[in-house]
């Protein structure tokens, strides 16, 4: 059991697979070089506004260029438009994109979550229909989980799917949905049966252009109105072809896919560029005793989080579903992302005042820091709050 590397019983039976999970194979290193070369050519540093991890800009043109090189939906079999690649290959690509602050917003959810879900639970028709455009970087998805009365407690969703002829009528309200205003489809968790709590939940693909779908922006605390949204589903007709997996199995499916959703570089790398740009713009402070000590401490944390995250990708490639390990990593990695912001802010010790638009603060570091201070609380909330993650992780321990 992979888990074993992390406890004493495991030290006893230390699996050889983890003796050097930090090492990439020659083809994986070659892939990394290709992604680096692509980024240097397509997005030269200084010519674009880098983002903070997965919350980066939405740029369909960039997504299309990535897809042209086969770097979206990589693990999808070639017959559906993918590259038959591994979870580690995807790790390699995603890591380079995120640490460059590349605009991955358009395809992010489709690549990380929807493609694996369709591969695992989708019908042959769904795969043939949706996977090729996902791999071409064309489709943008949003995730309809939260509702006004269902945040961490997802089993209490009230959006209902009611049988109607050959399909389903879906009604309810989803909130705090990222990128709903741009999405082509939503994957929505809905109640379709009575059952207690986790029973009777199903997942539907909802075409966001369907009659009855209304998207209303919810302003984010930083003033942005193009990210969060409320999605009202008013008797939206959903055909049987849009059901993901089996009716009533939505909860179990949801729990299974969390391993790849929770353990990737996006869960610990979001604020890396702050460190890099701090070193660039404040070289004297970085070289000071306090500065270099902090850089050393942060590097050690990045190094080990990356190793653990890569080990989960390797475990997934070996056929495992290390959901508890992934929860442990996300809980720790997202707190670290926040700690980076606090540590740099304290070291800098200055007011974050910037000129009003259109005069931008010339310092990329300060622009990133301002955004990070305002966005950081979301790191430990999105994709499962840390409180919920701890409960998931403990179940894997005993």
């Amino acid at each position: 059991m992979w888990w074993a590397i992390w406890s004493i019983e495991v030290v006893v039976s230390l699996p050889s697979m983890v003796t050097s999970p930090g090492a990439l194979t020659a083809p994986e290193l070659e892939l990394r070089q290709q992604v680096r070369a692509f980024l240097i050519e397509t997005l030269p540093w200084g010519t674009f506004e880098p983002g903070l991890g997965m919350g980066a800009e939405v740029n369909p043109k960039f997504s299309a260029e990535l897809a042209e090189r086969g770097w979206i939906g990589m693990a999808v079999p070639a017959r559906y438009g993918g590259r038959d690649a591994t979870a580690v290959d995807r790790f390699v690509v995603v890591e380079e994109l995120l640490r460059w602050g590349a605009p991955v917003g358009h395809h992010w959810v489709a690549d990380r979550q929807i493609a694996p879900v369709l591969l695992r639970y989708g019908t042959e028709e769904q795969k043939r229909w949706l996977l090729p455009p996902i791999c071409r970087g064309e489709l943008c998805f949003c995730i309809g989980m939260s509702e006004p009365d269902a945040g961490s407690d997802l089993a209490s969703v009230r959006t209902r799917g009611v049988r109607d002829g050959d399909g389903w009528r879906v009604s309810g309200v989803k909130v705090w949905t990222s990128n709903a205003m741009r999405a082509d489809f939503m994957i929505a968790l809905c109640r379709t049966g009575e059952g207690v709590r986790h029973m009777g939940l199903s997942r539907f693909l909802i075409d966001m252009r369907s009659p009855g779908v209304t998207v209303k922006p919810i302003p984010f605390l930083n003033g942005s109105t193009d990210h969060f949204a409320e999605v009202v589903l008013d008797g939206v007709l959903v055909s049987d072809e849009m059901v993901i997996g089996e009716i009533g199995q939505g909860w179990a499916q949801n729990a299974n896919e969390l391993a790849f959703e929770r353990s990737g570089p996006d869960r610990w790398i979001s604020t890396f560029l702050l460190v890099q740009e701090f070193m660039r713009e404040w070289p004297d402070l970085a070289a000071s005793p306090a500065g270099s000590r902090l850089i050393g401490e942060l590097a050690a944390q990045y190094w080990v989080l990356r190793r653990l995250s890569l080990a989960v990708a390797r475990a997934i490639d070996a056929g495992g579903t290390p959901a508890a390990e992934a929860a442990l990593i996300k809980e720790m990695g997202t707190r670290f992302e926040q700690d980076v912001v606090s540590a740099l802010r304290e070291l800098l010790d200055r007011e974050l005042v910037c000129g009003m638009e259109p005069v931008q603060t010339p310092s990329l570091f300060e622009r990133l820091l301002r955004r990070a201070v305002l966005e950081a609380p979301s790191f430990t909330i999105r994709g499962g709050t840390n409180e919920v993650l701890r409960t998931v992780a403990v179940k894997g321990l005993s």
Partner: protein, 351 residues
């Protein structure tokens, strides 16, 4: 023998010869004769020294596995000093292992070699009073000298102890003649001696942390309060999560450090591993004691054998700040665009 089998064999040996009461007795007397004898007979005290130099063979990875097992059992013996650090020093200069208990003089010792005689005072020598031989690096020369427990002409010693009552003695060399000496090869410097010492401590810490994790998980499942096991309370679960996260962090860091050392480098990875182990020691001991409550503060319950060692070891072989300062300075010198490649490839790109 695979890493698993080696760990299993060592764990069996410690279980037989190093029960908690044995650890307590060794802390009182300063020595664990029976355990040391078993380690010598098994050859574990002589890993990874090549057989042609009188060792038991084995790799750095093997030595680290043994230290993990030793740490998990709070083994009160100079295993790291004997093999991974002291044995390596001797072997690197082609010097054969001497018979008898040996320890190593910590790096940065203020020693002076005058001809073949050693002068100077060395504090905090692990199990110094029991050492028949001491190994040290003095001005680029690897020396083997009689220890305080040698039959004759040994140095003077005054006893000391760390927080876990492990002997950390002051050894005074007043013209003690060396038994053997050889110039250190280029790869063996004061800094690499620091690194070896830190790797040994971090490996022991990884073992101790994994044992604390297992002990705390078990206790929290057995101890009932308010009518149910305390592990069912979310506030306690948060402690368990912290402990197991840190156990994973340190285990992974040690694996990474060993892999790098086996490739002939490792300065980046060892610095990270020691830093992470020190930080983990703080988080894990706090969470484990909080989970155990009052019983964990008693001498009868064995948690303290592990936690006191973690509190001592985190400060030994360079604390958190020594390693953070050095690593940070090296990274800053390489510049911002080299930072992420260093995180990905460590000492492969740092050198």
């Amino acid at each position: 023998m695979s890493d698993n089998e080696l760990y299993g064999a060592a764990a069996k040996l410690f279980a037989a010869h190093n029960r908690w009461e044995d650890v307590g007795e060794a802390e009182a007397t300063g020595w664990a004769q029976q355990l040391w004898k078993a380690l010598q007979q098994s050859g574990f005290s002589d890993v990874p020294v090549p057989e042609e130099l009188g060792g038991a063979g084995g790799s750095v990875a093997d030595a680290v596995q043994l230290l993990r097992a030793a740490g998990a059992h709070a083994a009160p013996v100079p295993l790291a000093e004997s093999g991974l650090v002291g044995g390596w020093l001797l072997a690197s200069a082609g010097l054969a292992l001497p018979e008898g208990v040996r320890t190593v003089l910590p790096p940065a010792a203020t020693l002076r070699l005058d001809g073949d005689r050693l002068f100077g005072t060395v504090p905090a020598v692990a199990w110094g009073h029991r050492a028949e031989h001491v190994v040290g690096l003095v001005d680029g020369v690897i020396v083997l000298a009689p220890g305080p427990a040698a039959q004759s002409s040994g140095p003077a010693v005054s006893r000391g102890a760390n927080l876990a009552d492990e002997p950390r003695d002051t050894v005074v060399f007043d013209g003690v003649p060396v038994t053997a000496r050889a110039d250190a090869p280029d790869a063996v410097t004061e800094e690499t001696l620091w690194e070896r010492t830190a790797l040994g401590r971090a490996a022991l810490m990884a073992g101790a942390i994994s044992a604390v994790a297992a002990m705390t998980l078990r206790y929290s499942g057995e101890r009932e309060q308010f009518g149910r096991p305390i592990a069912r309370f979310q506030a306690v679960q948060a402690h368990l999560v912290t402990i197991h996260q840190q156990a994973a962090v340190v285990a992974s860091a040690i694996d990474g450090a060993v892999a790098a050392v086996e490739l002939g480098r490792g300065s980046f990875e060892i610095a990270c591993a020691k830093m992470l182990a020190d930080q983990a020691a703080q988080l894990v001991t706090a969470a484990a004691h909080q989970t155990h409550g009052a019983i964990g503060m008693t001498k009868e319950y064995p948690l303290h054998y592990l936690t006191r060692r973690l509190w001592a070891w985190r400060d030994e072989a360079g604390g958190h700040h020594r390693w953070a300062d050095r690593l940070g300075a090296a990274l800053v010198a390489c510049g911002p665009d080299a930072l992420y490649p260093a995180i990905q490839s460590g000492s492969e790109v740092m050198q």
